[in-house]
């Protein structure tokens, strides 16, 4: 019998959104042949949470979901103690989702110093510094199931993953969410009259879309194998980034009519030059309805 890689799925201050997003992984049958959860929030496991916190069960990968605070307990034991115990014996630690990586929404939950494992938003933390070499961050609110499953397979294969400054695999996070959006042409040619409820238009100019400056593969690896937020017309909320959630999410903050946050790596001069050129032209096809009579 082949040995399965053992995973501990540990929830901290969370909504279980990553847990349920993972249940959307299409090849679950094969996954469960290759991996075993020694504990999972929903899937039955050999051990009870009480076993996990009172003993030290053999384990290869520690998955952490949710923001972390010394004050937060599972089965009467501080989540920090549980992490300390298992981080020693595992090969890898994966922070699943934006709360476990950067603090996310629940950094505001009122628990003392709630944060991600290594980061409070962009700030690198001193606690757990010794685990930096073991950790892979998979930010996103929630995580995309394929990104989680395939990262776990990479660990299983001992594949070398190139990571960014926040320990996120570049293969998923070197892209921006803007890459692959079906509304790209409206962005490129600066057609800025987007309205909700339409197939046409780009939400970057008015409606707060953060896709051009958010790292992620949402439009490359589609959600539920079907679509993405920006494709259906919902602005990207920047949920993979340390700043998530920003304020005033449905509105683009502008200074002198220029968006405050520009696409990754594009400076103001470049942006203004390109905007000036595109504004000089009117492209009829993009001004009209997509399905034109």
């Amino acid at each position: 019998m082949k040995t399965k890689m053992k995973i501990l799925w540990l929830s901290a201050i969370s909504c279980n959104g990553n847990t349920h997003s993972f249940l959307n992984y299409p090849y679950m049958e094969q996954f469960l042949d290759d991996f075993e959860f020694i504990y999972h929030p929903v899937i039955d496991s050999k051990y009870l949470l009480q076993d996990i916190v009172s003993k030290q069960i053999a384990c290869d990968i520690l998955l952490i979901e949710g923001a972390i605070s010394k004050e937060y307990k599972r089965a009467d034991v501080s989540i920090v103690e549980i992490i300390e115990k298992y981080s020693k014996i595992v090969q890898k630690i994966v922070t699943v989702g934006t709360c476990a990586t950067f603090g996310g929404i629940f950094r505001e939950s009122g628990y003392e110093n709630a944060s991600g494992l290594h980061f409070y938003q962009e700030k690198k933390l001193e606690d757990f510094k010794y685990l930096l070499d073991k950790t892979i961050s998979l930010s996103g609110c929630p995580i995309h199931p394929e990104i989680l499953a395939n990262t776990l397979y990479a660990i299983k294969k001992s594949a070398t993953l190139r990571l960014d400054n926040f320990l996120r695999p570049k293969e998923f996070y070197a892209y921006t969410v803007h890459n692959g959006c079906t509304r790209n042409e409206y962005f490129e040619y600066k057609v800025d009259n987007h309205k909700f409820g339409e197939l046409e238009g780009c939400m970057y100019y008015e409606h707060g879309c953060q896709a051009p400056f958010t790292h992620g593969s949402c439009n490359k690896i589609l959600w539920n194998e079907v679509s993405s937020k920006t494709r259906v017309g919902l602005p990207c909320m920047g949920c993979t980034e340390p700043s998530f959630p920003r304020q005033n999410l449905f509105s683009t903050k502008k200074n002198m009519s220029i968006p405050e946050s520009l696409p990754v790596g594009v400076n103001k001069r470049v942006y203004l030059t390109l905007a000036g050129i595109t504004k000089a032209f009117k492209i009829d096809r993009l001004e009209k309805k997509l399905f034109d009579d």
Binding site: S14, C15, G17, R74, S109, K195, F196, V226, N248
Partner: protein, 419 residues
């Protein structure tokens, strides 16, 4: 004796008190909260559309719909197309359906001597998630319902895709959950007739009878549902007598000294919410028959939740057939939210029952936000003198394992209960 109940979207502690070998009181404790209501205070009103789905990974969509409706109720004369209303109803239906499959195959089955059926849970729930994603871009955690409608425009091809997901899910039901044509099932009015069929649901129902659990888990026989839409009716049912005149003004939330879960009562009394309550208020023939025969027992409660899957799949087909694609998905509100000072509320039927959101905004900023979740109605602990709904259902049992089954039959969600 204290037992930690696990895998209920977190945990709860049940402290069982026995007298003469029978449970005479259960103290229910939910141990943590994430203070969502505090997180919302001071934020821009529309940001609640992004924050609130994150109340819960399994029923977050209901929180989105409750949020958008609460915000919309703050406006005077806000326009909403029938198309937008129907699309919101559809995605909420799909969320309810995915939830019920997970509850049945992951939580209920293992109590009856079967292994947890992960793939039977994930296959249909993935189809329902896809259907939500066609409208909302992703599931979980979309914010596609905004004040004035929905952000998506829907095409014929989208409709065809969604119809396929629904048909495929119905097929799964007919081949696994209850092996009978869904039309026949929907016409069935005899709760005992189900025992003659094969399938995972009848297997469990037969097991309940066989193990003499048919009278287990009776509570107050008082049901309530506030979340009205084109399918669910608002009302309360007392011993099968239904009244539709109920008001949210009579709903009261009370803090408890020992648990983070606040109690909820209607006119000072505890009511059960959820699929069984909805079916009683809607006078769904099959479920009313189950209730006539077995009251508000484990049998009726499990049947009602599983049956709702077929009902909602079938009704979703009707909703889709009646969609007028020529209508707008979104009608821009006349007033900018930053100029709005107002208050509002909403009630929607989430997977586990009535979910209530209340909001106060001042010039577009959230001054106060209150959430009452379905699990608070069913699972918050009362006192010995006045037991909560699930407490009452557990009193009198002698076996802790069966008490856990009864507790979980209400479909526990720890994170929602305390939010």
């Amino acid at each position: 004796m204290i037992k930690l109940i696990e895998k209920i979207e977190g945990e709860a502690k049940l402290n069982f008190n026995f007298k003469d070998g029978k449970i005479d009181f259960v103290d229910v404790e939910f141990m943590s909260t994430r203070n969502i209501e505090n997180i919302l205070r001071g934020k821009r009103a529309f940001d609640a559309l992004v924050i609130n789905p994150r109340v819960c990974g399994i029923c977050g969509h209901a929180h989105l719909i409750a949020t958008v409706q609460a915000l919309e109720s703050c406006y005077d004369n806000l326009q909403l197309s029938n198309k937008a209303k129907a699309i919101r109803e559809l995605t909420l239906n799909f969320e309810l359906i995915q939830n019920h499959f997970k509850w049945f195959y992951l939580t209920m089955l293992p109590f009856f001597g079967y292994k947890q059926q992960i793939l039977k849970a994930t296959y249909p729930t993935q189809l329902m998630s896809k259907a939500i994603a066609v409208f909302g871009g992703q599931y979980p955690h979309t914010s596609y319902a905004v004040v004035g409608g929905v952000v998506c425009e829907i095409t014929q091809m989208d409709i065809i895709k969604i119809e396929s997901y629904i048909s495929q899910t119905l097929k799964f039901v007919e081949e696994n959950l209850i092996k009978i044509d869904s039309k026949t099932l929907l016409a069935c009015k005899d709760a005992d007739a189900l025992l003659e069929f094969s399938g995972d649901l009848p297997d469990i129902l037969r097991e309940i009878k066989k193990r003499d659990m048919i009278n287990h888990a009776k509570s107050y026989d008082r049901f309530i549902a506030f979340g009205e839409n084109s399918f669910f009716k608002k009302g309360k049912s007392l011993k099968r007598k239904v009244s539709h005149s109920i008001s949210l003004k009579d709903v009261k939330e009370t803090e408890m000294p020992t648990s983070f879960a606040k109690n909820v009562s209607y006119k000072e009394k505890y009511y059960e919410v959820g699929p069984l309550a909805r079916a009683m208020v809607n006078k769904t023939a099959l479920i009313v028959d189950a209730h006539k025969k077995y009251d508000d027992s484990l049998y009726s409660r499990i049947l009602a939740r599983a049956y709702e899957i077929t009902e909602l799949l079938n009704y979703s087909k009707t909703l889709i057939k009646n969609l007028d694609l020529a209508e707008p998905s979104y009608i821009e509100p006349q007033l900018d939210i930053s100029k709005l000072t107002s208050s509002g509320y909403s009630a929607v039927e989430a997977a586990r029952g009535t979910l209530i959101h209340k909001v106060e905004i001042e010039k577009g900023i959230i001054k106060n936000y209150e959430i009452i979740t379905p699990t608070q109605w069913n699972l918050s602990g009362g006192t010995r003198e006045k037991l909560g709904v699930s407490q009452k259902a557990m009193v009198g049992l002698s076996d802790i394992k069966i008490a856990e089954l009864v507790f979980k039959s209400f479909d526990v969600c720890s994170i929602c209960t305390t939010h």
